[in-house]
Amino acid sequence: MGKIIIDTNRCKSCYLCVSTCPKGLIKKSDKTNRLGDYLVEFDDKNNECIGCAMCAKRCPDMAITEVYR
C-alpha cells in the first residue's frame, strides 16, 4: 500500500507521470492550471499504489512532493 501527494502548483502538465505509473493510477484531471492545461490527479480507489516512487523520480518538476509506502 502506498500514497503520493501532488503539488498541482508545480505541475506543468507534461504527463510523464501518467505513462510512468506501473499501476496506471495517475490520470489527467478535469482541473486546469493557470495556463489552461489539464493537471493530473492520483486516483487510487482500490489501494493499488505500491509506493514505488517511480512517478516522483520521473516528474521533472518535483510536483509529486511526497511518496509513502
Binding site: 516522483a56 523520480k57 521533472p60 518538476d61 511526497e66 509513502y68 509506502r69
Partner: protein, 251 residues
C-alpha cells in the same frame, strides 16, 4: 507508512523551475540535490554555474554559487578548488557550454586532473536560444540553424564528450547516462555519485554526460522526446562508464 520520497533539502525552499514542461533538467538537478544531501556535501559545496538553460541554477540549489561566463565553469571551479581544496567544487553545464565554447577549459581541467566534478547536459541543441545546431547535434538532425539537417559538408560531426574526457589522464571517472526511463534515472544517480566520490577521495576529475530531452525545441511531446533519446541519441552516444580509476576501467 514510511515516507520514501521527499523534496531534497539541498533544493531551495519554494524553488520554481523555469524549464519547459517535460524538460529533464529538473530531474538532473534533483539528482544532484539528493546526492548533496546523502553525501553530506551541501555545506561545503561551491557550484560554478553556467550559461544557457542551466543559468538559473542558483535559484534552485540551496548551495553557494558563483557565476561563470559561457563555457568557463570548469576554469572557475578550478579556481575555487585551488583556493579552497577542502570544499566541494562542481559545475553544471549544457553541452554548448561544456563542449563547444568551453571545450578547452573543460578538457584542460580534466587533463590537469583537477579534483572537481562536472555535469554536462546533452540535449543535442542550444535550448535557451531556441534550438540551434550545437556541438552534439546528431547527423541529419534539423535545427533552426541546420534547416536541411546536419551534414558533413556544412557542419561536420558531433562530439562524443564522455569518450573524449575519458581519454584525459587526469580524469578519474567519466560516464554517459540518460534520463529517458526511471531505471536510467537510477543509473544516472549512481554515476553522479561516483563523479562526486572521486573528487572527495582526491582521485581527479569526475565527469558525467547526461542525455536529456528538449521537447520544446525538438517539437515533440515529452513522451516522444524520451523515445528520441532512446532511439536516436543512444545509438550515437552509447551509455556506459568510459573511465573509472576506482575499478581500473580505462578506455
Amino acid at each position: 507508512m514510511q515516507q520514501v520520497f521527499s523534496i531534497p533539502k539541498s533544493m531551495k525552499k519554494d524553488f520554481r523551475y523555469t524549464f519547459c514542461p517535460g524538460c529533464d533538467h529538473g530531474v538532473a538537478i534533483r539528482l544532484v540535490a539528493e546526492l548533496l544531501d546523502e553525501m553530506n556535501l551541501r555545506e561545503k559545496a561551491i557550484c560554478s554555474t553556467s550559461i544557457g538553460c542551466s543559468v538559473f541554477l542558483y535559484d534552485f540549489l540551496d548551495v553557494d554559487c558563483v557565476e561563470a561566463p559561457h563555457g568557463r565553469a570548469c576554469a572557475s571551479a578550478t579556481g575555487v578548488k585551488r583556493a579552497r581544496p577542502d570544499k566541494f567544487a562542481f559545475t553544471y553545464q549544457g553541452d554548448g557550454d561544456f563542449a563547444s565554447i568551453g571545450l578547452a577549459e573543460s578538457m584542460h581541467t580534466a587533463l590537469r586532473g583537477e579534483c572537481v566534478s562536472a555535469i554536462c547536459i546533452n540535449n543535442t541543441t542550444y535550448g535557451m536560444t531556441g534550438g540551434q545546431l550545437g556541438p552534439t547535434t546528431i547527423m541529419g538532425q534539423i535545427t533552426t540553424t541546420s534547416p536541411y539537417g546536419r551534414n558533413r559538408e556544412y557542419y561536420g560531426y558531433p562530439i562524443r564528450i564522455a569518450e573524449q574526457i575519458a581519454l584525459c589522464d587526469g580524469t578519474a571517472y567519466s560516464a554517459r547516462v540518460a534520463l529517458d526511463t526511471v531505471p536510467h534515472i537510477n543509473q544516472a544517480k549512481q554515476a553522479l555519485k561516483k563523479a562526486f566520490e572521486v573528487q572527495v577521495q582526491g582521485l581527479g576529475f569526475g565527469f558525467v554526460e547526461i542525455l536529456s530531452s528538449c521537447p520544446t525545441n525538438w517539437h515533440m511531446t515529452p513522451q516522444e522526446a524520451h523515445e528520441r533519446v532512446r532511439n536516436e541519441m543512444v545509438p550515437v552516444f552509447p551509455l556506459g562508464v568510459y573511465k573509472d580509476v576506482t575499478t581500473e576501467k580505462g578506455v
